[in-house]
């Protein structure tokens, strides 16, 4: 097990290194640098002034030197200076990450239990009326991306009914203004997890040991809760963790719709203002989150399911 974790961690480090190189190349392309120079000074700067500004601020040094400098900075915990917020990235980012953390926490708290419940209920008796209705519900939610459902919810619940607010505020989170962002994000992810749970549950329900439990005369409740659930929940566990890349994209969309100034908002700001260091830091954070959850899901799956042999 330990060897497996070490191997996965090494692959993870390698992936991150390769990705950081790709991102660093992309954000430092010539047109981006030029735009950065224009934005940081006045927009009517001539070609020569742009070149001299870039030269003066060290953007013209060899690529390897700059990448090495950035990398050593990151390893020692210094992510550089954000040109958009005019402060070090280390000050600008953690606060926003915290706000998104609150959002993600509530999303997971609503999404996971309801998705599992839907999946278990419909997988328990495949083909039943409950199963059909819940399957249609989960197909519909997976077909409705956040920028559709978020807007429809705003129209219905904020404009027409006036129950909730269509704009969220990071400094003053209330039930009224926080419900719609959480609802929007959890509904999109819910369908997929529910479908996976359903598939896994219905597979378990047809297996021999469940038949045995039935024939022993155990009540249906006990069969489901004590025998089926344990094995049926292994697959959804990994699916939930592998949802994180989607969750991150969802965060960016939802934060933009509801003007919630968290991590996603920072990412959009960084990208739209050519804030090289901040964009690099944001990409790094997203990659760490995604790869980290992948690692946890791999290890957790191997741990939960003894049938999976771990090759060191």
């Amino acid at each position: 097990m330990l060897g497996f974790i070490i191997k996965r961690t090494l692959i993870m480090m390698l992936t991150m290194l390769a990705l950081s190189l790709v991102v660093f190349t992309l954000v430092n392309l010539e047109p981006n640098l030029r735009k950065l120079a224009l934005e940081q000074n006045n927009n009517r700067m001539g070609q020569e002034a742009v070149d001299s500004w870039l030269d003066k601020n060290g953007y013209r040094r060899p690529f390897v030197v700059r990448y090495g400098e950035w990398l050593t900075g990151v390893i020692s915990g210094d992510l550089g200076y954000s040109t958009r917020f005019r402060m070090p990235v280390n000050e600008a980012l953690p606060k926003r990450l915290g706000y998104t953390g609150i959002l993600a926490f509530w999303v997971l708290m609503t999404m996971v239990p309801s998705a599992l419940l839907i999946g278990i209920l419909s997988g328990m008796k495949e083909g039943s009326v409950v199963d059909r209705i819940l399957s249609i519900v989960s197909v519909t939610t997976t077909a409705t991306p956040e920028y559709v459902s978020g807007i429809l919810f705003t129209v219905i619940f904020a404009s027409l009914l006036g129950w909730f607010k269509g704009v969220a505020n990071v400094n003053n989170i209330t039930f009224e203004n926080f419900t719609l962002p959480v609802l929007t994000m959890s509904i999109y992810g819910m369908g997929y997890i529910a479908r996976m749970t359903r598939a896994s549950m219905s597979e378990v329900m047809t297996s021999q040991y469940i038949r045995t439990a039935h024939l022993k005369g155990l009540p249906f409740r006990t069969v489901v809760l004590k025998h089926a659930l344990r094995n049926a929940l292994i697959a959804p566990f990994t699916v939930i963790l592998l949802q994180f890349p989607w969750l991150l994209t969802g965060v960016v969309i939802v934060e933009k719709i509801f003007n919630y100034k968290g991590f996603g908002w920072v990412l959009v700001e960084a990208a739209e203002n050519n804030d090289i260091n901040l964009l690099l830091a944001c990409s790094l954070v997203s990659v760490v989150v995604v790869i980290g959850t992948q690692l946890i899901s791999d290890v957790g799956y191997a741990y939960l399911n003894p049938r999976i042999r771990v090759e060191p």
């Binding site: 992309l26 399957s135 197909v139 077909a143 920028y147 404009s159 269509g166 991150l248």
Partner: protein, 384 residues
């Protein structure tokens, strides 16, 4: 005083405008019914209620895209300054044509924009998915069949791309800055070489012992491939038939880049599963070449899951294109695609709540149709 239609007149008008679509849908349905024996799994689809619903929704948007000029009442780009942010059913006084779904912030007819928006999605989403599939199949087959180092390297790259949140990828790859460089063309030139390689390999592995058939095919593929390639990648079609805007090429390349690793993983998994079957062992004993086994033994037997995945992936690509429009990335600002429309109208919900409905519902319904179609296909292919 501006005249408006009531709700009933509005929906009746909309339904009438779609007449070519209804007609073609009925025609296709009847054709499918009469030929259901020859259609294989698509014929079985007619037995499943879920599948047929999905199929009809997909047909609806397909024919709307085909007949967009007939269905739409106005030019999608025409602006009526007197009719800005009007509610559904307002009648344009000069032509006396109703604006069924109202107008946007610049006085453009939302109904016509929605109908024309289907063209962009139905052109880019399936074709980008097709290219992504060819890339994924061409790389996934050898990775799954041969394993070893080929597999490790390709899987590492695929996992790397997949561990990148799509939105970050788009913000890095679909920007005006990127379009000033040659990067989109480089990416497109890499992706579009795959269909040509794929076609050549298919022909070579099939007719390797019949050069009389093989060489004509190779010549045809090379000429056709070179023609399409020059038109799409370099925008330099000698006949001038095929052209692609730099920003469309940029979007296309980014979308293929984002979805081919997923296809790769599925094809690789299926190949690893199928290569243990007896018929593959039989082909190996006959001394068939590796590519013959991969393309003519394994791939046809993997088609079921791949068709289902293709339906889902077209929907996913539609969502990706909407995301691009929503963030205002890559598309011309006046472009009538659904994502951009959502982005342009979402700020006006307070003033006119109905303004966002046509494009959001259009996008969601198309994706829903594809998902239902995939569900139906999966259900029917499991029955066999």
């Amino acid at each position: 005083m501006m005249e408006t239609l009531n709700l009933w007149e509005m929906w009746a008008g909309v339904a009438l405008r779609f007449w070519p679509v209804w007609l073609s849908m009925a025609g296709s349905y009847l054709l499918m019914r009469s030929k259901r024996k020859q259609l294989g799994v698509f014929g079985h689809l007619l037995d499943s209620r879920v599948g047929i619903t999905g199929l009809l929704i997909v047909f609806f948007w397909f024919y709307s895209a085909v007949f967009a000029d007939l269905v739409a009442t106005f030019d999608p780009l025409e602006q009526f300054y007197r009719y800005r942010r009007k509610p559904p059913g307002i009648i344009e006084a000069e032509s006396m044509i109703p604006m069924f779904f109202g107008t946007d912030n610049l006085g453009r007819d939302l109904f016509s924009r929605m109908v024309h928006g289907s063209r962009f999605v139905l052109l880019i989403a399936p074709s980008a998915t097709l290219v992504a599939f060819i890339v994924g199949i061409t790389l996934g087959l050898p990775a799954g069949y041969k394993g070893g180092r080929t597999d490790s390297i390709l899987s590492f790259i695929a996992n790397m791309i997949l561990s990148f949140p799509v939105i970050v990828l788009f913000y890095l790859l679909v920007t005006p800055g990127i379009r000033e460089t040659i990067l989109p063309n480089v990416m497109a030139s890499v992706f579009f070489i795959f269909p040509i390689i794929f076609a050549l390999t298919v022909v070579r592995s099939r007719y390797s012992e019949r050069p009389g058939l093989m060489y004509p095919w190779i010549v045809i593929i090379l000429i056709l491939g070179a023609w399409l390639y020059s038109g799409v990648v370099f925008n330099a079609d000698p006949l001038g038939w095929i052209s692609m805007d730099p920003n469309e090429l940029n979007i296309f390349a980014a979308v293929v880049f984002a979805s081919s690793p997923g296809v790769f993983r599925i094809v690789r998994g299926l190949t690893m599963d199928i290569k243990t079957r007896d018929y593959v062992a039989a082909a190996q004993t006959r001394g068939e070449t590796q590519w013959y086994i991969m393309l003519w033994e394994i791939l046809p037997n993997a088609r079921g899951p791949l068709i289902v995945d293709a339906c889902l992936r077209i929907g996913y690509t539609t969502i990706l294109l909407g995301t691009l429009g929503f963030f205002g990335l890559g598309l011309a600002p006046e472009s009538p695609d659904w994502g951009s429309m959502i982005n342009q109208t979402r700020g006006l919900i307070r003033l006119a709540p109905t303004i966002v409905l046509p494009q959001t519902i259009a996008l969601a319904s198309f994706v829903l149709g594809l998902n239902l179609l995939a569900d139906g296909l999966r259900e029917e292919s499991l029955k066999d």
